[in-house]
Amino acid sequence: MTRVKGITKYITVLMLVSALLAINSFQAGFSQPPTGIQPQIAESLSYIAQLLVKQTVIKFDTVLYQNRFVTGKLLTPELVFRLDAGGGRLLKTSEIAALIFETGKVQIVLQSGERLLGQLLTDVEIALVGHEDLRMTLAHDVMHIGAGIVVLSGQLQSLTNVELQGLLARFLNLITFSDMMVFQNDGIVAGKVTNQVFQIDEFYFNKEDIAEIIFGTPSQLRERSGRVRIGTIRTPTVTIEFSPTSFTFPTQALARILFTDRTVTFSRAAALAERLLPGDPTEGQNPRGRP
């Protein structure tokens, strides 16, 4: 009897494992092409990602932690660290290029190129894009727990390629957890939009039904169904929550809102993009021999 029970358990587990493995094949099965057609969200994500690397990180200080992303100006002039090498160190924010957090550790990338390892002991205050009055304090322990990344304006080049890859991957994955708001001045924040209804002309839409709003004259509201409504956005302000605090921005300051989309699944795998081959190995080969 015990043996039968054991075998039944074993078969059940085997079935569960098979089901897990089958999910991947189904994904592949469902994703057969309409050739050359991309989902609209790919276009939006490309636009926002390009804006991030070409404008936002050049103009603003950026902070990414947990599922939040804020841009603006760091107000804390000096930061105190406990260094792994021993002792404390006070660094001017203007000397720093980036801070890359792990639990209990932060890698300090200085503008001089020097790298230090330690622990941040100071809370960081940032004035958010759009409004100097909107200030947010990020506790140093929260940054450590949330494995945050801080990049000071114009310092993206100071990151290594692996660090840049990590920043981009985490930023793009935000769309599965947060609403992304893009400002007219190229600032970006990601959190949870708390407006439940948006009005375009005389029509009202529930937030849950909206995939994206592009503000302009006229504005475009794209529903999750794919239908696009063109008109004037009548909603005067948009509030975004970075729990526990929330900030309200006038609609005129906004360029775009891309709402959370849990169907967006980025590949997490080298194994899934394993064979990246040069198309023509003789093309553009280096006569200078640099690695």
Partner: protein, 148 residues
């Protein structure tokens, strides 16, 4: 059968059951570990980073990427030198353009959804001259890193 013999028999039966349970537990544990490795180990591996070089303006490299369909991918390039201007294009197998990132700057990024498994990535040098202090470098020349 005396009491002692009965006790021994019962004990060995119990030991057998415990052994079988232990064996099953190990099999399940190994199965579970295989699943964990399959789901996380493979999928959390290091991401692809490649190096490329363009020698002059209008020079280009083509790469072929084999990907797993059903996911969004971000492809990016970053030139080693901030003055060069490289553009990035992604094509499907039928040579339809699925994504492009052009314009000034040494970093370009493209996000696309993989319906298919084979994509072609084209990196083109469109210009960008070094500062006057670096005379030996031609315009539009330099190394880049390609990430996916």
């Amino acid at each position: 059968m005396g009491f002692k013999q009965m006790f021994v028999a019962t004990n060995s039966r119990r030991e057998g059951t415990i052994l079988m349970k232990a064996r099953l537990f190990i099999i399940l544990l190994v199965g579970f570990l295989i699943v964990i490795i399959f789901v996380t180990g493979f999928s959390q591996g290091t991401r692809t980073l490649e190096r490329g070089y363009l020698a002059f303006i209008n020079d280009y490299n083509e790469w072929t990427a084999t990907v797993h369909p059903g996911f969004f991918y971000s492809v990016w390039i970053r030139a080693d030198d901030i003055w060069v201007d490289f553009d990035l294009y992604v094509y499907d197998q039928a040579r339809n353009l699925v994504c492009s990132s052009v314009g000034h700057g040494s970093i370009e990024i493209c996000v696309f959804y993989a319906w298919d498994s084979v994509y072609h990535i084209k990196v083109v040098s469109v210009g960008g001259c070094p500062p006057p202090s670096i005379k030996e470098r031609p315009c539009g020349e330099g190394w880049y890193t390609l990430g996916i």
